[in-house]
């Protein structure tokens, strides 16, 4: 009996050695020495690379982790699955790859986690390709200047702080000031205007109810078919929150690299930095300002640098980024806001005071800026918005004096009067992005003084009447204007047409 068993054993061993040869030798293995709060210390695995995936054999199956701290005596790894399953003494193996996520068209319309696993209850996602989560940004020669517009459909942004494809424009402001609303409207506009831009919304530690509402809205607006939602909630482990923006970017790069255009929305990078801070502190990395680790700038710079407009040789695709950062008490000089402001190509600052005054979107004209988008603005929009930003900033400064009323000179009064009308015009309801012709006609109607007889309270009604009239009576002209190539200049045919229609529309709303 025992002879038979020994023979069996020998046979098994031969088979194992044969299997071993197929796998190019013994597997590198280490052991978990400590585990807690989603972080494990691992002994052994001297050949592990930075960000390499590790497989921890637990009694309930394999749990993945990735190496972040490569120290002399041990590896610090963050666990991607349930850390409750991992215990000291578990064997750890090198997977031999860095972290990858599935990419491709198959992800469109889906809600996934940062590892590409479906969260929407839909079928498993089978893609033919996967991309590394961490990837080096395109070099200088592979890039091109930002020159194509990415229309948000929000009149105040498209006219004053235009965003180009490949640009990184920060949306910053306190909580409940409409940051996500701006991002959402931008996504909706891509579908309405049929721009072909793929939206990738990355929710970092957002309430799941908020993500569910957003997905419902995207479905209702018919935007979901060209959108991927990478979702992480507040109860997800910090490593997943940390990975979410990188995973989303990898998905976006797929479209960029094949000559398409994608829009990344990172909602929000403040929570991302907090998740990274948690991981870093647990990995015993030294804390710096606000307890963030020293490489928190690099955390965001390497992420946002992947958004780019590619050169013609590389297919001329683009990846535009709209990172969101939440401030506390409008303090844009805090650590993370200043970091991200310096990385991005401009910021849209949402003001609580404006929001509370009913000015929505509550965009601050003075503190917002777009550094490269001007080159991407369409001729039509550029022709009507030249001095809009300055005028509005001056008005908001002067508005403080308006309460003293009668002591103002006529020029100041006129400026305040025009500013009030403009402010009213720039108010825009959510989920109602405007096309190029609507924006041009609206701004020109105010700028030309055609609405000067309309009381401020009725400006929106007059604007609606104007747009309806123009679309009903001059559809062909508006379609041409919508192409964006035609300038709305003083005494031009299109300018006269808008002025004439605006004066006629205003008549119904005069006092």
């Amino acid at each position: 009996m025992s002879k038979v068993n020994v023979a069996e054993l020998s046979k098994e061993l031969q088979a194992a050695i044969a299997g071993l040869e197929q796998r190019d030798g013994l597997e590198s293995a280490g052991i978990v020495t400590k585990v807690g709060d989603g972080v494990a210390s691992i002994h052994g695995l001297a050949k592990a690379g930075y960000s390499e995936v590790l497989e921890i054999d637990t009694s309930e199956g394999v749990v993945e982790a990735f190496a972040l701290n490569l120290m002399e005596d041990e590896i610090g790894a963050v666990i991607l699955g349930n850390d409750q399953q991992v215990s000291a003494g578990n064997t750890v193996r090198l997977k031999g790859t860095v972290l990858e996520v599935p990419v491709g068209e198959e992800l469109l319309g889906r809600v996934v986690d940062p590892l590409g696993r479906p969260l929407d209850g839909g079928p498993a996602i089978k893609t033919s390709q996967s991309n590394p989560v961490e990837r080096e940004a395109i070099g200088v020669m592979g890039r091109k200047g930002v020159h194509e517009p990415l229309m948000t459909g929000i009149i105040s942004i498209d006219t004053m702080f235009p965003i180009g494809r490949g640009q990184r424009e920060l949306i910053i402001g306190d909580r409940q000031t409409g940051k996500t609303a701006v991002a959402l409207d931008t996504m909706i506009n891509q579908a309405r205007q049929k721009t072909g831009v793929v939206n990738i919304y990355v929710a970092v530690g957002q309430k799941l109810s908020k993500i569910a509402r957003l997905v419902e809205r995207l479905k209702a607006e018919g935007v979901m078919e060209q959108t991927i939602v990478v979702a992480t909630g507040p109860s997800d482990p910090a490593p997943l929150l940390y990975l979410a923006p990188y995973a989303g970017t990898a998905m976006g790069e797929y479209f960029r690299d094949k000559g398409g255009h994608a829009l990344m929305i990172y909602d929000d990078l403040s929570k991302h930095a907090v998740a990274y801070r948690q991981m870093s502190l647990l990995l015993r990395r030294p804390p710096g300002r606000e307890a963030f680790p020293g490489d928190v700038f690099y955390l965001h710079s390497r992420l946002l640098e992947r958004s780019a407009k590619l050169s013609e040789e590389l297919g001329a695709g683009s990846l535009t980024a709209l990172p969101i950062v939440e401030t506390q008490a409008n303090d844009i000089s805090a650590y993370i806001p200043t970091n991200v402001i310096s990385i991005t190509d401009g910021q849209i600052f949402m003001e609580t005071d404006l929001f509370n005054q009913g000015i929505r979107p509550a965009i601050s004209a003075g503190l917002s800026v777009s550094r490269v988008g001007g080159a991407a603005q369409t001729k039509s929009i550029k022709s009507v918005s030249g001095h809009l930003k300055l005028g509005l900033s001056q008005f908001r400064e002067l508005a403080a004096f308006a309460q003293f009323g009668s002591d103002l000179d006529d020029a100041t009064k006129a400026q305040i009067d025009r500013g009030q009308r403009l402010t009213e015009l720039l108010k825009q309801a959510q989920y109602q992005p405007m096309s190029i012709w609507e924006q041009c006609a609206s701004v020109h109607a105010i700028d030309s003084g055609s609405f000067d007889t309309v009381p401020v309270a009725k400006i929106k009604n007059a604007q609606e009447a104007l747009l309806t009239k123009l679309w009903t009576d001059h559809k062909a002209d508006m379609r041409d204007l919508n192409k964006g190539a035609e300038k709305v200049e003083k005494d031009s045919k299109i300018a006269k047409l808008i002025e004439k229609t605006a004066i006629s529309a205003a008549k119904g709303f005069e006092d």
């Binding site: 025992s2 020994v6 061993l13 030798g25 013994l26 293995a29 052994g44 309930e60 199956g61 002399e72």
Partner: protein, 130 residues
């Protein structure tokens, strides 16, 4: 006041001493004193593993096998051949056998920093997870 020396350096020192014919008890005493002095006694087991890894570089390989029954001489010979193939320059292979009936059949081979689990138990667990 003693300074903190990494386990890697300690293990390299110990491996050098042992490979050059140093006394095991002397090296063990030195290490134990140092660990006690620096309050790192809990690292003794990890240090032992590190020393085993460092000894591989000196051609001394300690292999731990786990199987349901005792390994035959042929099997041990196969393991030695495999180790010498995997770690060129190996001069001395020491096999420490552990009998564990729960592995059912097959063998698990553990070399410092590496392993091969060819037990039936491991295969069944893989099937269970899949």
């Amino acid at each position: 006041m003693s300074t903190t020396i990494s386990r890697r350096k300690l293990s390299q020192y110990a491996a050098n001493e042992l490979a050059n014919g140093g006394s095991i008890s002397d090296v063990a005493l030195q290490l134990a004193s140092y660990l006690d002095d620096t309050g790192r006694k809990s690292e003794a087991e990890l240090l032992q593993r590190d020393i085993e890894s460092a000894l591989v570089e000196h051609g001394i390989v300690l292999v731990r096998t786990t199987s349901a029954r005792a390994l035959s001489g042929e099997a041990k010979n196969d393991i030695e051949v495999m180790i010498k193939h995997e770690f060129p320059g190996t001069k001395d292979v020491t096999i420490i056998e552990l009998i564990d009936e729960s592995v059912i059949a097959g063998v698990k081979i553990e070399v410092p920093g590496y392993r091969l689990d060819a037990t039936v138990k491991a295969k069944l667990e893989k099937l269970k997870v899949a």
